[in-house]
Amino acid sequence: MHRNFEPTLIKFNRTMTAQKSFKIIVIFALAILPFFTFSQEDDSKIEEASKKFNAADMIMHHIGDSHGWHFFGSGDNSFTLPLPVILFTDNGLVTFMSSEFHHDFDGKYVVEKDGMKFVNYHENIYQLNEGESALQKNDEGEVINASKPWNFSITKNVAAMFLTVILMLIFFFSLANYHKKNKKAPSGFNNVLESLVIFVRDDIARPQIGEKKYMKFMPFLLTVFFFIWITNILGLLPGAANVTGNIAVTVSLGLFTMALIFKNGNRDYWKHVFWMPGIPTFVKPILAIVEVMGLFIKPIALMIRLFANITAGHIIILSLLALIFILESAGVAGISVPFALFITILELLVAFLQAFIFTMLSALFIGMAVEEHEHH
């Protein structure tokens, strides 16, 4: 009985899906049609704007760090959140707001403080030498009459990191307070956080580090996991900073893991690095060199993986949007905007996956360092 029905059922389903996909194609084509007519009308305007457009500059500007938090607009009309510039010069500490540069990062606008002159050239702050009034460059674009003071500014990336830290403090203090008062499982957002905490404990720390020692490393693993995850997601918002796509940030994260491995590595671990048991003596020095290199390559790989994944994601989204201006047609927007949206949603997955991978590999490396070996 059942079998007799099946062929007609499948046929029916197939025609249904075919109709559905046809409908979707027609709707999509109609939806992007207005963009093409629009592009023909405004051709001259777009051409004018695109004369100055340089995709590589735009992308590098967006993924890089800056001294002000720029949201939209250009030049003097731009909407920028000013951030403090903190410099240690030879004559002591100098502080001022980044708005004093008036949105200039070509080194043209000179800020005078305490008799010293500062310019912002490609988001590097230079102090002009005595008696100079403007920044000078040689033919290769190198600055010749200024030096870089120690720069401890609260840049866009630092401000975004503070935002993450504040968010994490709010989230986890509320979760901790809830558990002080109640014995029940929390509801709502606290429940989401708690399930993630348990995920880190049961799926990352416990199997990789071992039942006896995992509790010692939970604070580090949880902090790293939530820090990377929240910064990654905040970085996807329009106008946000590219924090985990900044190599300096990922270097510090990698150094934390390396320091933990070096501090907690037990006797067995170091023995396995320098003079491993169970292999011929003449191979031992060669393998020791490889193992010592491995000590440093592990955190470097962690650092490069996070940096490159997040930066690549941002570059893909920006390049898709830049296609509209490169091809000088608003019609391309009908295709590139949905595709950029698709990549953005994919990046949501990558944001979680990279936090997971970083935490997982950190736990794995720490687990290798603290593992108790049976004696050979």
């Binding site: 290769e140 799926d203 199997p207 790989a301 490069i304 993986r305 940096f307 490159a308 994944n309 690549a312 996956l353 997971f356 991978i357 997982m360 590999l361 794995l364």
Partner: protein, 76 residues
């Protein structure tokens, strides 16, 4: 000849990505086989698969970053 270094860097990035594609493809395929044989072990297999895939991907990203540095640092 002016853009030769950019072309070579892009070629290098492409080669790195081919390697990663083969590597991650093999890992994913083998994990699929393993899960099909032993569906009850799928959790453990997935974890091992993700770790191995991340290690392969890391090497590919080394290549891509090297290519990116090639594009950015060689003066045009």
């Amino acid at each position: 000849m002016e853009y030769l270094h950019i072309g070579l860097a892009a070629l290098g990035a492409g080669l790195a990505v081919i390697g990663a594609g083969i590597g991650v493809g093999k890992i994913g395929g083998s994990a699929m086989d393993a899960i099909a044989r032993q569906p009850e072990a799928s959790g453990k297999i997935q974890t091992a698969m993700i770790i191995a895939a991340a290690l392969v991907e890391g090497v590919a990203l080394f290549g891509v970053v090297a290519a990116l540095l090639g594009v950015l640092t060689v003066p045009a």
